[in-house]
Protein backbone atom coordinates (compact mmCIF):
# COMPACT_ATOMS: atom_id res chain seq x y z
CA UNK A 1 0.00 0.00 0.00
CA UNK A 2 1.57 3.32 -1.01
CA UNK A 3 1.23 6.56 0.94
CA UNK A 4 -1.71 7.75 -1.11
CA UNK A 5 -3.59 4.49 -0.68
CA UNK A 6 -2.98 4.84 3.06
CA UNK A 7 -4.36 8.37 2.94
CA UNK A 8 -7.41 7.09 1.10
CA UNK A 9 -7.81 4.34 3.64
CA UNK A 10 -7.65 6.91 6.45
CA UNK A 11 -10.28 9.01 4.74
CA UNK A 12 -12.61 6.05 4.51
CA UNK A 13 -11.81 5.20 8.13
CA UNK A 14 -13.24 8.56 9.16
CA UNK A 15 -16.49 7.67 7.38
CA UNK A 16 -16.55 4.37 9.23
CA UNK A 17 -15.80 6.00 12.57
CA UNK A 18 -18.69 8.37 11.99
CA UNK A 19 -21.05 5.52 11.15
CA UNK A 20 -20.62 3.66 14.45
CA UNK A 21 -23.33 3.44 17.04
CA UNK A 22 -22.54 5.01 20.43
CA UNK A 23 -24.53 7.42 22.63
CA UNK A 24 -22.56 10.31 21.15
CA UNK A 25 -23.20 9.18 17.58
CA UNK A 26 -26.90 8.96 18.38
CA UNK A 27 -27.10 12.66 19.22
CA UNK A 28 -28.44 15.10 16.65
CA UNK A 29 -25.62 16.50 14.46
CA UNK A 30 -26.76 20.05 15.20
CA UNK A 31 -26.29 19.48 18.94
CA UNK A 32 -22.76 18.22 18.35
CA UNK A 33 -21.99 21.03 15.95
CA UNK A 34 -23.24 23.73 18.32
CA UNK A 35 -21.31 22.33 21.30
CA UNK A 36 -18.13 21.97 19.25
CA UNK A 37 -18.36 25.56 18.05
CA UNK A 38 -19.08 26.71 21.65
CA UNK A 39 -16.12 24.70 22.93
CA UNK A 40 -13.78 26.19 20.36
CA UNK A 41 -14.98 29.73 21.09
CA UNK A 42 -14.62 29.31 24.86
CA UNK A 43 -11.19 27.69 24.46
CA UNK A 44 -9.96 30.50 22.25
CA UNK A 45 -11.30 33.13 24.64
CA UNK A 46 -8.81 32.30 27.40
CA UNK A 47 -6.13 34.88 28.09
CA UNK A 48 -2.74 33.92 26.69
CA UNK A 49 -1.28 33.72 30.21
CA UNK A 50 -4.25 31.83 31.72
CA UNK A 51 -2.68 28.41 31.45
CA UNK A 52 -4.17 27.11 34.70
CA UNK A 53 -7.65 28.12 33.55
CA UNK A 54 -7.22 26.52 30.12
CA UNK A 55 -5.89 23.12 31.21
CA UNK A 56 -9.24 21.84 32.64
CA UNK A 57 -10.79 22.37 29.18
CA UNK A 58 -9.19 19.05 28.26
CA UNK A 59 -11.87 17.34 30.35
CA UNK A 60 -14.54 17.65 27.65
CA UNK A 61 -12.64 15.97 24.79
CA UNK A 62 -11.37 13.30 27.19
CA UNK A 63 -14.94 12.60 28.26
CA UNK A 64 -16.12 12.45 24.64
CA UNK A 65 -13.32 10.06 23.67
CA UNK A 66 -14.66 7.74 26.38
CA UNK A 67 -18.33 8.10 25.48
CA UNK A 68 -17.75 7.70 21.75
CA UNK A 69 -15.33 4.81 22.23
CA UNK A 70 -12.80 6.58 20.03
CA UNK A 71 -9.13 5.75 20.26
CA UNK A 72 -7.08 8.82 21.33
CA UNK A 73 -4.06 7.44 19.49
CA UNK A 74 -6.00 7.34 16.21
CA UNK A 75 -6.87 11.02 16.76
CA UNK A 76 -3.22 12.00 17.16
CA UNK A 77 -2.23 9.75 14.28
CA UNK A 78 -4.73 11.32 11.92
CA UNK A 79 -3.80 14.82 13.05
CA UNK A 80 -0.07 14.17 12.73
CA UNK A 81 0.34 16.48 9.74
CA UNK A 82 -1.58 19.45 11.06
CA UNK A 83 -0.49 19.15 14.72
CA UNK A 84 3.10 20.36 14.20
CA UNK A 85 1.76 23.41 12.33
CA UNK A 86 -0.56 24.26 15.20
CA UNK A 87 2.23 23.67 17.69
CA UNK A 88 4.52 25.98 15.77
CA UNK A 89 2.16 28.96 16.13
CA UNK A 90 3.56 30.23 19.44
CA UNK A 91 7.10 29.00 18.96
CA UNK A 92 8.65 32.48 18.87
CA UNK A 93 6.80 33.88 21.88
CA UNK A 94 9.62 33.01 24.35
CA UNK A 95 11.99 35.20 22.33
CA UNK A 96 9.77 38.27 22.37
CA UNK A 97 8.16 38.05 25.80
CA UNK A 98 10.88 37.44 28.36
CA UNK A 99 9.27 38.92 31.44
CA UNK A 100 9.20 36.41 34.30
CA UNK A 101 5.60 35.97 35.38
CA UNK A 102 5.80 32.89 37.60
CA UNK A 103 8.31 30.73 39.38
CA UNK A 104 8.39 26.94 39.56
CA UNK A 105 10.61 26.38 42.55
CA UNK A 106 13.60 28.57 41.89
CA UNK A 107 13.14 28.54 38.10
CA UNK A 108 11.56 31.64 36.57
CA UNK A 109 9.10 31.06 33.72
CA UNK A 110 8.70 33.88 31.22
CA UNK A 111 5.40 35.11 29.85
CA UNK A 112 6.54 33.94 26.40
CA UNK A 113 6.84 30.33 27.53
CA UNK A 114 3.44 30.41 29.23
CA UNK A 115 1.74 32.01 26.21
CA UNK A 116 3.47 29.51 23.89
CA UNK A 117 2.13 26.55 25.91
CA UNK A 118 -1.30 28.21 26.10
CA UNK A 119 -1.42 28.69 22.34
CA UNK A 120 -0.29 25.13 21.74
CA UNK A 121 -2.95 23.75 24.08
CA UNK A 122 -5.65 25.92 22.52
CA UNK A 123 -4.74 24.57 19.07
CA UNK A 124 -4.57 21.01 20.35
CA UNK A 125 -7.93 21.19 22.13
CA UNK A 126 -9.66 22.76 19.13
CA UNK A 127 -8.27 20.08 16.81
CA UNK A 128 -9.35 17.33 19.18
CA UNK A 129 -12.86 18.79 19.35
CA UNK A 130 -13.06 19.05 15.55
CA UNK A 131 -11.76 15.49 15.18
CA UNK A 132 -14.38 14.23 17.62
CA UNK A 133 -17.12 15.99 15.68
CA UNK A 134 -15.98 14.36 12.42
CA UNK A 135 -15.47 10.99 14.08
CA UNK A 136 -18.99 10.95 15.48
CA UNK A 137 -20.96 12.64 12.70
CA UNK A 138 -21.25 11.68 9.04
CA UNK A 139 -20.43 14.51 6.67
CA UNK A 140 -23.88 14.25 5.07
CA UNK A 141 -25.60 14.52 8.45
CA UNK A 142 -23.39 17.45 9.33
CA UNK A 143 -24.34 19.21 6.10
CA UNK A 144 -27.99 18.38 6.73
CA UNK A 145 -27.66 19.96 10.19
CA UNK A 146 -26.07 23.04 8.65
CA UNK A 147 -28.93 23.26 6.17
CA UNK A 148 -31.47 22.95 8.98
CA UNK A 149 -29.68 25.87 10.64
CA UNK A 150 -30.34 27.84 7.43
CA UNK A 151 -26.80 27.70 6.08
CA UNK A 152 -26.84 28.48 2.34
CA UNK A 153 -27.35 25.36 0.23
CA UNK A 154 -24.44 26.46 -1.97
CA UNK A 155 -22.01 26.27 0.98
CA UNK A 156 -23.16 22.87 2.22
CA UNK A 157 -23.06 21.44 -1.32
CA UNK A 158 -19.58 22.89 -1.78
CA UNK A 159 -18.44 21.36 1.50
CA UNK A 160 -19.78 17.94 0.56
CA UNK A 161 -18.46 18.02 -3.00
CA UNK A 162 -15.03 19.16 -1.79
CA UNK A 163 -14.98 16.29 0.69
CA UNK A 164 -15.82 13.86 -2.10
CA UNK A 165 -13.37 15.47 -4.53
CA UNK A 166 -10.51 15.00 -2.06
CA UNK A 167 -11.26 11.27 -2.22
CA UNK A 168 -11.36 11.24 -6.03
CA UNK A 169 -8.10 13.17 -6.30
CA UNK A 170 -6.40 10.94 -3.75
CA UNK A 171 -7.55 7.83 -5.64
CA UNK A 172 -6.07 9.16 -8.88
CA UNK A 173 -2.89 10.15 -7.06
CA UNK A 174 -2.62 6.64 -5.61
CA UNK A 175 -2.93 5.05 -9.07
CA UNK A 176 -0.42 7.45 -10.62
CA UNK A 177 2.09 7.06 -7.78
CA UNK A 178 1.89 3.29 -8.06
CA UNK A 179 2.36 3.42 -11.85
CA UNK A 180 5.37 5.74 -11.38
CA UNK A 181 7.06 3.55 -8.78
CA UNK A 182 6.56 0.40 -10.83
CA UNK A 183 8.66 2.04 -13.53
CA UNK A 184 11.10 3.75 -11.18
CA UNK A 185 12.04 1.03 -8.71
CA UNK A 186 14.23 2.04 -5.80
CA UNK A 187 13.44 5.71 -6.27
CA UNK A 188 12.26 7.54 -3.17
CA UNK A 189 9.33 9.79 -3.91
CA UNK A 190 8.81 11.33 -7.31
CA UNK A 191 11.75 12.97 -9.01
CA UNK A 192 11.50 16.74 -9.18
CA UNK A 193 11.82 16.67 -12.98
CA UNK A 194 8.56 14.70 -13.19
CA UNK A 195 6.56 16.90 -10.83
CA UNK A 196 5.26 19.32 -13.46
CA UNK A 197 3.76 16.70 -15.75
CA UNK A 198 2.73 14.57 -12.78
CA UNK A 199 0.70 17.37 -11.21
CA UNK A 200 -0.76 18.40 -14.57
CA UNK A 201 -1.85 14.84 -15.26
CA UNK A 202 -3.26 14.51 -11.77
CA UNK A 203 -5.34 17.62 -12.23
CA UNK A 204 -6.62 16.54 -15.66
CA UNK A 205 -7.38 13.00 -14.57
CA UNK A 206 -9.11 14.00 -11.36
CA UNK A 207 -11.10 16.66 -13.24
CA UNK A 208 -12.15 14.05 -15.82
CA UNK A 209 -13.32 11.72 -13.09
CA UNK A 210 -15.00 14.53 -11.20
CA UNK A 211 -16.79 15.49 -14.43
CA UNK A 212 -17.98 11.91 -14.88
CA UNK A 213 -19.19 11.80 -11.29
CA UNK A 214 -20.95 15.10 -11.74
CA UNK A 215 -22.63 13.81 -14.91
CA UNK A 216 -23.76 10.77 -12.97
CA UNK A 217 -25.24 13.08 -10.32
CA UNK A 218 -26.98 15.28 -12.88
CA UNK A 219 -28.45 12.23 -14.58
CA UNK A 220 -29.99 11.29 -11.27
CA UNK A 221 -31.73 14.60 -10.81
CA UNK A 222 -29.06 16.67 -9.00
CA UNK A 223 -29.55 20.43 -9.39
CA UNK A 224 -26.99 22.19 -7.19
CA UNK A 225 -28.92 21.13 -4.14
CA UNK A 226 -28.39 18.03 -2.04
CA UNK A 227 -31.38 16.29 -0.54
CA UNK A 228 -29.76 14.80 2.48
CA UNK A 229 -31.02 11.65 4.12
CA UNK A 230 -33.29 12.91 6.87
CA UNK A 231 -31.81 13.61 10.28
CA UNK A 232 -34.21 12.69 13.04
CA UNK A 233 -35.84 15.72 14.69
CA UNK A 234 -33.86 17.70 17.28
CA UNK A 235 -35.35 16.49 20.57
CA UNK A 236 -35.15 17.31 24.28
CA UNK A 237 -32.19 15.01 24.85
CA UNK A 238 -30.15 16.86 22.20
CA UNK A 239 -31.09 20.21 23.69
CA UNK A 240 -30.17 18.98 27.18
CA UNK A 241 -26.81 17.73 25.93
CA UNK A 242 -26.02 21.03 24.23
CA UNK A 243 -27.18 23.08 27.24
CA UNK A 244 -25.19 20.98 29.74
CA UNK A 245 -22.06 21.13 27.62
CA UNK A 246 -22.25 24.89 27.15
CA UNK A 247 -22.90 25.38 30.87
CA UNK A 248 -19.89 23.18 31.61
CA UNK A 249 -17.70 25.26 29.27
CA UNK A 250 -18.86 28.48 30.92
CA UNK A 251 -18.14 27.05 34.36
CA UNK A 252 -14.65 26.12 33.27
CA UNK A 253 -14.24 29.53 31.71
CA UNK A 254 -15.26 31.57 34.72
CA UNK A 255 -14.32 29.32 37.63
CA UNK A 256 -10.70 28.23 37.74
CA UNK A 257 -10.84 24.60 38.75
CA UNK A 258 -7.04 24.44 38.88
CA UNK A 259 -6.98 27.22 41.49
CA UNK A 260 -9.79 25.63 43.48
CA UNK A 261 -7.98 22.30 43.57
CA UNK A 262 -4.68 24.02 44.34
CA UNK A 263 -6.37 25.89 47.19
CA UNK A 264 -7.13 22.57 48.87
CA UNK A 265 -3.45 21.85 49.22
CA UNK A 266 -1.84 25.30 49.53
CA UNK A 267 -2.88 27.84 52.12
Amino acid sequence: MNKMQKALHELSEMDELAARSTPLHALHPAAKLITTIAYILVTLSFNKYDLSGLVPMVLWPVLLFQISDTDVRSCFYKLRIVLPLVMAVGLFNPFFDREIILRVGSVGVSGGVVSMITLMLKGLFCLMASFLLMATTKIDNLCAALRSMHFPSMLTSLLLLTYRYVGVMTEELAVMTEAYHLRAPGQKGIHISAWGSFLGQLLLRSMDRAQELYSSMRLRGYHQHFHFAANRPFNGRDALYAACCILFFLLLRFISISQLLGGLFVR
Binding site: S12, E171, S216, M217, L219, G221
Partner: protein, 240 residues
Protein backbone atom coordinates in the same frame (compact mmCIF):
# COMPACT_ATOMS: atom_id res chain seq x y z
CA UNK B 1 -39.26 5.35 -27.00
CA UNK B 2 -35.92 6.60 -28.36
CA UNK B 3 -35.62 8.04 -31.84
CA UNK B 4 -32.67 9.51 -33.73
CA UNK B 5 -33.50 11.63 -36.77
CA UNK B 6 -30.48 12.49 -38.92
CA UNK B 7 -28.23 13.12 -35.95
CA UNK B 8 -24.62 14.19 -36.43
CA UNK B 9 -22.05 15.14 -33.86
CA UNK B 10 -18.43 16.34 -33.93
CA UNK B 11 -16.16 16.84 -30.92
CA UNK B 12 -13.95 19.04 -33.11
CA UNK B 13 -15.04 21.15 -36.04
CA UNK B 14 -15.81 19.01 -39.13
CA UNK B 15 -14.50 15.82 -37.50
CA UNK B 16 -17.75 13.97 -37.16
CA UNK B 17 -17.93 10.91 -34.92
CA UNK B 18 -21.68 10.49 -35.56
CA UNK B 19 -22.90 11.05 -39.10
CA UNK B 20 -26.52 11.42 -40.12
CA UNK B 21 -27.66 8.70 -37.75
CA UNK B 22 -31.31 7.63 -37.77
CA UNK B 23 -32.92 4.79 -35.85
CA UNK B 24 -35.86 4.11 -33.59
CA UNK B 25 -36.08 1.98 -30.47
CA UNK B 26 -39.57 0.90 -29.46
CA UNK B 27 -40.85 0.73 -25.90
CA UNK B 28 -39.77 -2.48 -24.15
CA UNK B 29 -37.20 -3.31 -26.81
CA UNK B 30 -33.76 -4.51 -25.80
CA UNK B 31 -31.11 -3.22 -28.19
CA UNK B 32 -27.39 -3.86 -28.29
CA UNK B 33 -25.23 -1.08 -29.67
CA UNK B 34 -21.99 -2.60 -30.89
CA UNK B 35 -18.98 -1.44 -32.83
CA UNK B 36 -15.23 -1.13 -32.66
CA UNK B 37 -13.47 1.39 -30.42
CA UNK B 38 -14.20 4.90 -31.63
CA UNK B 39 -17.30 3.83 -33.58
CA UNK B 40 -19.41 6.32 -31.62
CA UNK B 41 -21.27 4.07 -29.16
CA UNK B 42 -20.62 6.14 -26.03
CA UNK B 43 -21.32 9.34 -27.95
CA UNK B 44 -24.75 7.99 -28.91
CA UNK B 45 -25.46 7.35 -25.23
CA UNK B 46 -24.33 10.82 -24.22
CA UNK B 47 -26.44 12.39 -26.96
CA UNK B 48 -29.55 10.58 -25.73
CA UNK B 49 -28.86 11.72 -22.18
CA UNK B 50 -28.30 15.29 -23.28
CA UNK B 51 -24.70 15.32 -22.02
CA UNK B 52 -23.71 16.28 -25.56
CA UNK B 53 -25.68 18.32 -28.08
CA UNK B 54 -25.47 17.48 -31.75
CA UNK B 55 -27.22 18.34 -35.00
CA UNK B 56 -30.51 16.71 -35.94
CA UNK B 57 -33.31 15.59 -33.67
CA UNK B 58 -33.37 13.11 -30.79
CA UNK B 59 -36.70 12.16 -29.26
CA UNK B 60 -37.25 10.33 -25.99
CA UNK B 61 -40.83 9.22 -25.50
CA UNK B 62 -41.91 11.85 -28.00
CA UNK B 63 -40.06 14.71 -26.27
CA UNK B 64 -37.14 16.29 -28.11
CA UNK B 65 -33.85 16.30 -26.20
CA UNK B 66 -33.13 19.99 -25.66
CA UNK B 67 -31.69 22.00 -22.80
CA UNK B 68 -35.17 22.94 -21.61
CA UNK B 69 -36.46 19.35 -21.64
CA UNK B 70 -33.47 17.68 -19.99
CA UNK B 71 -35.20 17.46 -16.60
CA UNK B 72 -38.15 15.54 -18.08
CA UNK B 73 -35.93 13.38 -20.31
CA UNK B 74 -33.49 12.39 -17.59
CA UNK B 75 -36.33 11.46 -15.27
CA UNK B 76 -37.21 8.74 -17.79
CA UNK B 77 -33.70 7.45 -18.41
CA UNK B 78 -31.32 5.53 -16.21
CA UNK B 79 -27.67 5.33 -17.18
CA UNK B 80 -25.32 2.64 -15.85
CA UNK B 81 -21.77 3.86 -16.31
CA UNK B 82 -18.93 1.62 -17.39
CA UNK B 83 -16.90 2.51 -14.30
CA UNK B 84 -19.09 1.88 -11.26
CA UNK B 85 -16.66 3.88 -9.11
CA UNK B 86 -17.76 6.96 -11.01
CA UNK B 87 -21.38 6.15 -10.41
CA UNK B 88 -21.27 5.28 -6.73
CA UNK B 89 -20.18 8.55 -5.18
CA UNK B 90 -21.87 8.33 -1.79
CA UNK B 91 -20.30 6.44 1.14
CA UNK B 92 -22.84 3.59 1.30
CA UNK B 93 -25.00 1.72 -1.19
CA UNK B 94 -28.14 2.92 0.58
CA UNK B 95 -27.14 6.58 0.35
CA UNK B 96 -26.38 6.17 -3.33
CA UNK B 97 -29.69 4.47 -3.99
CA UNK B 98 -31.74 7.08 -2.19
CA UNK B 99 -29.97 9.95 -3.99
CA UNK B 100 -32.14 10.00 -7.12
CA UNK B 101 -35.54 9.39 -5.47
CA UNK B 102 -34.90 12.28 -3.07
CA UNK B 103 -33.80 14.51 -5.94
CA UNK B 104 -37.11 13.69 -7.61
CA UNK B 105 -38.92 14.96 -4.53
CA UNK B 106 -40.02 11.61 -3.23
CA UNK B 107 -40.64 11.47 0.51
CA UNK B 108 -38.00 9.74 2.64
CA UNK B 109 -40.41 6.98 3.60
CA UNK B 110 -41.35 6.24 0.01
CA UNK B 111 -37.72 6.42 -1.12
CA UNK B 112 -36.75 4.00 1.65
CA UNK B 113 -39.49 1.64 0.59
CA UNK B 114 -38.37 1.79 -3.02
CA UNK B 115 -34.75 1.10 -2.07
CA UNK B 116 -35.81 -1.96 -0.08
CA UNK B 117 -37.96 -3.22 -2.96
CA UNK B 118 -35.15 -2.93 -5.49
CA UNK B 119 -32.60 -4.54 -3.17
CA UNK B 120 -34.99 -7.43 -2.51
CA UNK B 121 -35.69 -7.84 -6.22
CA UNK B 122 -31.98 -8.09 -7.00
CA UNK B 123 -31.26 -10.15 -3.86
CA UNK B 124 -28.86 -7.48 -2.64
CA UNK B 125 -30.31 -6.88 0.83
CA UNK B 126 -26.91 -7.56 2.42
CA UNK B 127 -25.35 -4.68 0.51
CA UNK B 128 -27.69 -1.99 1.82
CA UNK B 129 -25.45 -0.44 4.46
CA UNK B 130 -22.13 -1.62 3.03
CA UNK B 131 -19.49 0.95 2.11
CA UNK B 132 -19.01 1.44 -1.60
CA UNK B 133 -15.25 1.27 -1.30
CA UNK B 134 -15.45 -2.05 0.52
CA UNK B 135 -17.60 -4.08 -1.88
CA UNK B 136 -16.24 -6.18 -4.73
CA UNK B 137 -16.33 -5.16 -8.39
CA UNK B 138 -19.26 -7.49 -9.10
CA UNK B 139 -21.22 -6.25 -6.11
CA UNK B 140 -20.49 -2.68 -7.10
CA UNK B 141 -21.81 -3.25 -10.62
CA UNK B 142 -24.99 -4.79 -9.23
CA UNK B 143 -25.31 -1.92 -6.76
CA UNK B 144 -24.88 0.54 -9.64
CA UNK B 145 -27.75 -1.15 -11.48
CA UNK B 146 -29.78 -1.02 -8.26
CA UNK B 147 -29.21 2.75 -7.91
CA UNK B 148 -30.64 3.19 -11.41
CA UNK B 149 -33.60 0.89 -10.79
CA UNK B 150 -34.44 2.92 -7.67
CA UNK B 151 -35.22 5.78 -10.08
CA UNK B 152 -37.82 3.58 -11.81
CA UNK B 153 -36.77 4.78 -15.26
CA UNK B 154 -38.70 3.94 -18.42
CA UNK B 155 -35.49 3.08 -20.27
CA UNK B 156 -32.07 1.93 -19.11
CA UNK B 157 -28.86 2.73 -20.94
CA UNK B 158 -25.84 0.63 -20.05
CA UNK B 159 -22.25 1.24 -21.02
CA UNK B 160 -20.24 -1.99 -20.96
CA UNK B 161 -22.17 -3.53 -18.05
CA UNK B 162 -20.08 -6.71 -17.94
CA UNK B 163 -16.59 -5.26 -18.40
CA UNK B 164 -13.97 -6.33 -15.82
CA UNK B 165 -16.26 -8.90 -14.21
CA UNK B 166 -15.39 -12.51 -13.52
CA UNK B 167 -17.59 -15.17 -15.20
CA UNK B 168 -19.76 -15.70 -12.13
CA UNK B 169 -20.53 -12.01 -11.60
CA UNK B 170 -20.91 -11.52 -15.35
CA UNK B 171 -23.60 -14.19 -15.38
CA UNK B 172 -25.39 -12.55 -12.44
CA UNK B 173 -25.39 -9.19 -14.25
CA UNK B 174 -26.62 -10.82 -17.48
CA UNK B 175 -29.46 -12.60 -15.68
CA UNK B 176 -30.41 -9.35 -13.98
CA UNK B 177 -30.45 -7.47 -17.28
CA UNK B 178 -32.61 -10.16 -18.85
CA UNK B 179 -35.17 -9.78 -16.09
CA UNK B 180 -35.50 -6.02 -16.52
CA UNK B 181 -38.73 -5.09 -18.25
CA UNK B 182 -37.68 -1.58 -19.26
CA UNK B 183 -36.49 -0.49 -22.69
CA UNK B 184 -32.77 -1.22 -22.79
CA UNK B 185 -29.91 0.13 -24.86
CA UNK B 186 -26.65 -1.63 -24.11
CA UNK B 187 -23.23 -0.88 -25.55
CA UNK B 188 -20.63 -3.57 -25.21
CA UNK B 189 -17.78 -5.48 -26.80
CA UNK B 190 -19.07 -8.56 -24.97
CA UNK B 191 -21.06 -9.96 -27.89
CA UNK B 192 -22.07 -13.08 -25.98
CA UNK B 193 -23.75 -10.87 -23.42
CA UNK B 194 -25.45 -8.88 -26.18
CA UNK B 195 -26.69 -12.14 -27.69
CA UNK B 196 -28.03 -13.20 -24.29
CA UNK B 197 -29.79 -9.96 -23.46
CA UNK B 198 -30.77 -8.18 -26.68
CA UNK B 199 -33.25 -9.05 -29.37
CA UNK B 200 -31.91 -6.44 -31.75
CA UNK B 201 -28.45 -5.15 -32.57
CA UNK B 202 -27.29 -1.90 -34.12
CA UNK B 203 -23.77 -2.10 -35.48
CA UNK B 204 -21.98 1.22 -35.68
CA UNK B 205 -18.98 1.92 -37.84
CA UNK B 206 -17.38 5.32 -38.25
CA UNK B 207 -20.42 7.01 -36.75
CA UNK B 208 -22.84 5.38 -39.19
CA UNK B 209 -25.10 2.36 -38.96
CA UNK B 210 -23.40 -0.58 -40.65
CA UNK B 211 -26.18 -3.01 -39.76
CA UNK B 212 -29.43 -3.01 -37.83
CA UNK B 213 -31.49 -6.13 -37.24
CA UNK B 214 -32.14 -9.22 -35.13
CA UNK B 215 -29.23 -10.02 -32.80
CA UNK B 216 -29.02 -13.65 -33.91
CA UNK B 217 -28.71 -12.64 -37.57
CA UNK B 218 -26.10 -9.88 -37.15
CA UNK B 219 -23.98 -11.67 -34.56
CA UNK B 220 -23.79 -14.78 -36.77
CA UNK B 221 -22.51 -12.81 -39.75
CA UNK B 222 -18.78 -13.42 -39.51
CA UNK B 223 -17.93 -11.37 -42.61
CA UNK B 224 -19.89 -8.37 -41.37
CA UNK B 225 -18.37 -8.53 -37.90
CA UNK B 226 -14.82 -8.96 -39.15
CA UNK B 227 -15.23 -6.11 -41.61
CA UNK B 228 -16.07 -3.98 -38.59
CA UNK B 229 -13.13 -5.11 -36.43
CA UNK B 230 -15.10 -7.61 -34.37
CA UNK B 231 -15.32 -11.34 -33.97
CA UNK B 232 -18.13 -13.85 -33.70
CA UNK B 233 -19.39 -14.35 -30.16
CA UNK B 234 -17.57 -17.25 -28.50
CA UNK B 235 -20.83 -19.12 -27.98
CA UNK B 236 -21.48 -19.13 -31.74
CA UNK B 237 -17.98 -20.06 -32.87
CA UNK B 238 -18.50 -23.79 -32.37
CA UNK B 239 -21.76 -23.74 -34.31
CA UNK B 240 -20.35 -22.11 -37.44
Amino acid sequence: MIEFQNVSFAYEKDRYVIRDLSFRIEKGESVGLIGANGAGKSTVMKLILGLLQGEGKILVDGTEVRKETLGVIRRKLGFVLQNSDNQMFMPTVYEDMIFAPLNYMMSHEEADRRVDEVLARLHLEDLKYRYNHKISGGEKRMAAIATILAMEPDAILMDEPTSALDPYNRRIVINTIRELSQTKLITSHDLDMILDTCGRVILLSGGRIAADGPAEKILKDRALLEANRMELPLSLMGRM
